[in-house]
Amino acid sequence: MEALQTKAKELLAAGTVQVAIGYGKGTGNARRPLFVTKPERAADLIVDAACTQNLATYLTKHEVRVMGRMAVVAVPSTLRSILQLAAEKQIREEQVLALAVIDGQVRELATFEAIEEAVATIPDAMSEADRNMIDKLSAMSVPERRAFWADELVRCVKCYACRASCPMCYCERCTTDVNRPQWIPVASHAVGNLEYHVMRAMHLAGRCVECGTCGKACPVGIPVHLLTIYAEDSVRRQFGQRGGASAKLDYAMSTFKPDDKEEFIR
């Protein structure tokens, strides 16, 4: 933790970056995002097991960007987000610097190449809890799964916290905001909620970095992240590609192989 504070302080003092995005103390034991612009405030930065939110979400925000070059405290999924954002031309190398926290060590990763190397050594990120939940759901019958999701999704109030917390949901106009035609009903009801969450998972398939931030952001506790993680896993299983592996475009869903294998098309 001290190493991080020192590093952030140095970078800010030297003017290498103008803002360090990290975690600070929140209510109780919770952590909240902290934007440090003055070297002397670097001491407020915290790193511990409670720091799980993917801070890459802020890298595409106009208000943050105008401050100048950004250093971001990066858990493994954040690194993948940076690469995916780079591949999608949403961020340039000179705009960002990652302070990667890997196994308790802080490493400064100033280039996409360095981030790619670090990401390559990180195993696929699905947490054990998520894996167990997906296995449990997969073992259910189709009607059971439908019942499970019906019960969950009916509670969705369409606050879009999942979308707001997601680093890859940076679109200025989401499909949900389109009203000609109105793909996703404005009102919150089980059918429309299902359409919304399936849509979001499809849009994240091949781009999701499996941080689970969307699930944690949900105020009513719907495990929406399971949908995006499942879609990402589906891409990985079938096409051997994953989101956020490279700063060069490698999006499984806008490419193909002539010998992609399926067994359901007659």
Partner: protein
């Protein structure tokens, strides 16, 4: 006695292979069941998964998605892109509990008029046996007391 259930089948087809194939079914006067409504699109690559969801939520009991065989796409590779999309979409639909028996994918070329008739007949009969797709429509009432 109640009227026997007649399923609503929505078909998303590409203009160059399956639509032309279905035209050939007509030219060859091969009969099939009248339950299908065809939405003509230029290419399977144009078939947004949102359209498929909408078809179900708007009351389709079954959906057919069909286009050119691999390698035969009029636009070179639209069908390959579509195939990838379907591979993930289908997986995800199953994960959220949508009955995959009701969504049928097929390659029907412009020369396969008979295959189109067989496909429609088979899907119509199958969906008729499965009964109306109430599950999604019932969802609309979930949580409303």
């Amino acid at each position: 006695m109640a009227e026997p259930f007649e399923p609503k089948i929505t078909a998303f087809v590409c203009n160059w292979c399956t639509y032309a194939g279905a035209d050939l079914t007509g030219t060859s006067r091969i009969k099939y069941q009248p339950n299908v409504r065809v939405i003509r699109l230029p290419c399977t690559g144009r078939i947004d998964f949102m359209m498929v969801l909408k078809a179900f939520t708007r009351g389709s009991d079954g959906v057919i998605i069909s286009g050119c065989h691999p390698n035969d796409c009029h636009y070179t590779s639209g069908n390959y892109h579509a195939r990838r999309r379907w591979m993930v979409f289908r997986d995800l639909l199953e994960f959220v509990g949508i009955d995959l028996e009701r969504i049928i994918f097929s390659w029907v070329s412009a020369a396969e008029g008979a295959k189109w008739a067989d496909l429609v007949n088979e899907v119509t009969s199958k969906v008729r046996a499965l009964g109306p797709y109430r599950e999604l429509r019932q969802l609309a009432a979930v949580g409303i007391d």
